[in-house]
Symmetry: C2
Subunit: 209 residues, 2 copies
DNA sequence: ACACAGTACGACCGATCGTGCTATCTTGTC
DNA sequence: GACAAGATAGCACGATCGGTCGTACTGTGT
């Protein structure tokens, strides 16, 4: 879009930097105000850029929202998924849950997990925005599932483990931790989730009982 | 507010009926648009009442939102909690989860559980509205906890059962079912939650393994 | 030197927002 | 039937919404 197609042609960096700044602010704002509540005006004054300056980078509000979702995705991948990929098998599965919980606990984003907020907000409203959010959620489930399958193959989980149900449970626990933590401002909820996760996983360890 | 202080004066019923109609519509609308996205104008055209006709019943938008939360609470109590109270102990605990899942699956409200949506929306925004939602969520956890305690006392759960963690897990599972169902429009997710709930409960039955 | 693409601005549009104020019906009480 | 009060509509307000102008500054390529 912004490239001219000419290989020798260099792109000025100012615009890209402003755009990134706008989008990073948009992600943070959207976790509090929602993707819909995030208005161009508020985003403009939050970034110090004029309203039309903001608008210059996007075709429409929906375009801005889609770009915000994409930015939130890369942030999630960098902060939650990739760090956990340094481990393998069961350790990776545990690391994924744990890094999600820290990502919430550390208030990386002021309103907690971006996708949890977006899923709740857009759930009942079909459209390209909801589709992108749903896709990202499926990807996250996919990452958890792959890790669980690998752990099972390694013999770190019972051979009769129902991976889909296990992953459903783990995801439910971390999301509930997110919602509870944000709603009640209580870090104890995160620890409750840690306890629950440990319990669920210990129930599926190979020589349990 | 609406009473004049004169004891002999009776109130006309029309207003109350209209108000109830407005609030019931508001609850449904809020599960899709959010409590903030719900505007007086949209609510007016959805009910067939004029904008000022809607406004006549409330002091401010926040007042309307608080009344909407209260209406959603009674609806939740009537549809989810009370039916389950016909059973006792472990059966009640199971009935609570199941009636919550049906309440979501039957699309009693178009956008799923009102409080799940409200919690996600208001989580990062302190204020009386969030406080009321948080209170209702605590009450729900309380109902689950009482049922679990009773089941434990009856010997239907292991004596070493950590009730708080068990309740956290059950709540997480039904909320995740709600979010997933609304986001992906897939009833299979409700069944996945049923499977997970059965597994969690079977792991805490007295003579397991 | 000059044209042009990229970047950002202020002004403005019609629509809708929440919120008042007033007029007009309707209804129960005397 | 008069009258007070409840219920609702009509209308208008300032603010903000998403979105479109025209414009001006700044580098880069020819």
């Amino acid at each position: 879009m912004t490239t001219t197609g000419n290989a020798t042609r260099r792109t000025r960096t100012d615009g890209e930097r402003t755009k990134r700044h706008i989008l990073e602010t948009a992600v943070r704002l959207a976790t509090i105000e929602g993707l819909d509540g995030l208005s161009i005006g508020k985003l403009a004054s939050a970034t110090g850029v004029s309203k039309s300056g903001v608008y210059a980078h996007f075709d429409s509000k929906e375009d801005l929202q889609l770009a915000t979702v994409e930015t939130a995705r890369t942030l999630f991948v960098d902060d939650v998924v990739l760090p956990a990929f340094e481990a393998d098998g069961l350790k990776r599965l545990i690391a994924l849950c744990e890094s999600f919980l820290s990502y919430v606990e550390n208030r990386t984003l002021p309103g907690g997990c971006f996708f949890a907020a977006a899923a709740a907000e857009l759930g009942g409203r079909p459209g390209p925005l909801r589709e992108r959010v749903a896709e990202n959620q499926r990807d996250w489930i996919g990452v958890l599932t792959e890790a669980a399958e690998a752990a099972k193959d390694k013999g770190q989980l019972r051979t009769d483990t129902d991976v889909a149900t296990l992953v459903f449970e783990l995801n439910a626990l971390v999301i509930a931790a997110n919602t509870g933590f944000i709603l009640h401002d209580d870090p104890a909820i995160i620890d409750q989730a840690r306890t629950a996760i440990a319990r669920v996983l210990s129930a599926t360890r190979p020589n349990a009982d």
